[in-house]
Amino acid sequence: MDVSTSGHRTSETRASFWDFFDRTFTSIRLAIFLLFALAIASILGTVIPQEITFQQLRQAQETLYGRLALILDLHQVYRSWWFLLLLVLLCLNLGGCLRKRIPAILADWSGKRFKETFILTMEETRPVEAIKSLVSDAVSGVMHSPPRIEGTADEWRFDWTRHRIHLIGFPLIHLAIIIVLLGALVGLLFGFKGAIQIREGSTGSRYARIPSGQPAVLPFEIALDKFELSHYPSGEPKEYRSEVRLIQNGQEVYKGAIRVNHPLTYDGISLFQSDYKLVGVKGVALSLEGPDGSSHELVVAPGVETALPKGDVKIRLAALDPGSSLRGAWIDVTIEHGKDAPQTVRIFQKDAKPTRIGDYEVRFKSYQPLYASGLQIGYDPGAYIVWLGCIMLMAGFVVTLFTNYRRVRVQITRVGPHKTRVKVSGSSRRMRQEFRETLEKTTKGAIASA
């Protein structure tokens, strides 16, 4: 007895829990609440600074509000537990509404259900046979299709259906949102993002994960052969271009260029041009004027001791500033002359007078920059799922906007010796008023014309 009672109670609790669950997640009120809640949460994320440093994090822990903000993940709203919870609730809500509506949609699709939005009834003195084809032809003109006909001598029934495809709009749109969110989840779980900086002429495979900053290693090495920066005549940047080779197990597997808006994808991993940094110089061009009026051009590479054409003077590049001061770019040059102690001079690119080194008048003409290219790394297996959802969403909008599910049923019944009743019932998803008026005019016109 006890066992069966407790069993009964469990199933009852289960049923009421299911009822509660069902009532909650099939509610449109919840949907509207969740949309507003997500909107407000998103606003929070755009007004509260989202990327904070470790130090700021430590500081925040010292105050009560700071600790509260950290518990609520206010520094990473879009990855916070409660934002994800809202998204999960939204998915459940979408699923609930789909579950609730799909039986009715299927019944509409199969024609089992007919929920008319209006009924017109007319009385006639002529027999059924006399007006049946007139009315059916006229309505066929409105519905652009022939009817399904059922009938006996005393009653005829005509059924028209148009744009049944309209019915899939609702499930398509709502399923699409669930699929987009699932795709995002897949990306969150199995995808990664990162950033890597490679100097011209070197290779790299170690990168930092975004947003955690944790170090990671790519399954291949990126060799940056060249980084090019070009400008429009007006000075605005025109193109950043990284010429790269990808090397896997010591073998070159790919060679190509990465530009902004033109990424490279290898092995599912995409590499994007993001930014660049000036990290040094390849060489500095100096113009030399000798005592005899001869002029030379000398290119000094960093770290290499270079001798002047004549004499025993050697120079070495000690430092370079690409132009952060008002006087423009400058270099520090260390001069070694025989056994004298080395001496360092600073030469500005904009110097009016040349600098004397040994027998020569030296000017700093130009430098060849050495860049490091900043690449973004992205791998997201969920993206395809997201695109599937997006295509479904757009298809759903097209179907909803450009089609209109309509049904008409005309019943012509003999109700007396000289009495025939014409009953027109119809439904339309959009433009109901217009549809009703058209049908009324058409059927009345058809009967009057007889």
Partner: protein
């Protein structure tokens, strides 16, 4: 004559036609001759406006920096004003509500006039914008914004009509306004969805992530959610009238913030 001169002409032509429209509206019964002519005038100015946008496209090729004229604030404002006028003409034709044009033209005028304050020179396209997605993304977003603007205009008129019967008698019937508020949101919402999706596709292609919670992205999503709430409230909860009108106004404030306010927050869209 440059496209900028043409835009100056268009700006004041909108103002003039708004005045003519208002006179026609006040002086005569609807469907009057004057109103017909005022409508044709607006259609003609709108055509010149469209031609001016195309002409600027051509000019950019002449300068050797050829790109669609949707690359900076000036160009986007000119395009926004054009989409608004197109939306007004569509609403007027679909609902026979001339007053929507009378109320909407000053908005187009103000937007066009505001472009006088900003740099109108044709600049080359920065690398981040050099993509085929630019046109699809910007056009769908702005057409969506135009739908929301039409809805906002009708919503404000609806709310004004509620204040007193004296005001209401000069405005279109509330039932019609309510219908315009709703239908414009349906169109705007669909277009904004496509705009967000094309933006995500572009971001995925260019930066390797279809969604990065950039302020503009986030605000477009906020706008999308507000209008999604609008549609659910209307279709499933039977909201209409002043409640949906208020929602339409709230949604439009989000549109404005997405367009202008976000520029004061840092992010990928800072050049717009």
């Amino acid at each position: 004559m440059t496209s900028t001169d043409l835009n100056t002409f268009v700006t004041f032509a909108y103002l003039a036609s708004a005045v003519i429209y208002l006179i026609a509206f006040v002086a005569a019964r609807s469907k009057s001759q004057l109103m017909q002519w005022a409508f044709r005038l607006v259609v003609a100015i709108c055509a010149v406006h469209g031609a001016s946008i195309l002409y600027r496209w051509y000019e950019s090729y002449e300068l050797g920096v050829g790109h669609a004229p949707l690359s900076n604030l000036y160009e986007s404002l000119v395009f926004f004003a054009w989409t608004i006028v197109v939306a007004l003409l569509v609403v007027r034709t679909a609902f026979h509500a001339d007053f929507v044009i009378v109320a909407g033209l000053p908005i187009a005028f103000i937007i066009m006039a505001s472009t006088f304050l900003i740099d109108s020179s044709i600049r080359p396209l920065i690398p981040a914008l050099q993509s085929n997605w630019l046109v699809a993304h910007v056009v769908t977003c702005f057409l969506g914004y135009a739908g929301f603007t039409a809805s906002f205009i009708a919503a404000v008129m609806f709310l004004l009509a509620l204040t007193s019967p004296h005001v209401a008698q000069h405005l279109p019937p509330s039932k019609l306004l309510d219908e315009i508020v709703y239908r414009s949101v349906v169109i705007g919402f669909s277009l904004l969805s496509v705009g967000i999706i094309t933006g995500a596709a572009w971001a995925d292609h260019a930066w390797g992530s279809y969604w990065s919670w950039d302020p503009k992205e986030t605000w477009s999503l906020i706008t999308w959610m507000v209008y999604a709430a609008f549609l659910h409230a209307r279709l499933a909860r039977g909201w209409s009238g002043h409640r949906t009108a208020v929602l339409s106004v709230v949604g439009f404030l989000c549109v404005l913030f997405t367009y202008f306010g976000v520029n004061y927050l840092p992010g990928l869209h800072s050049y717009f």
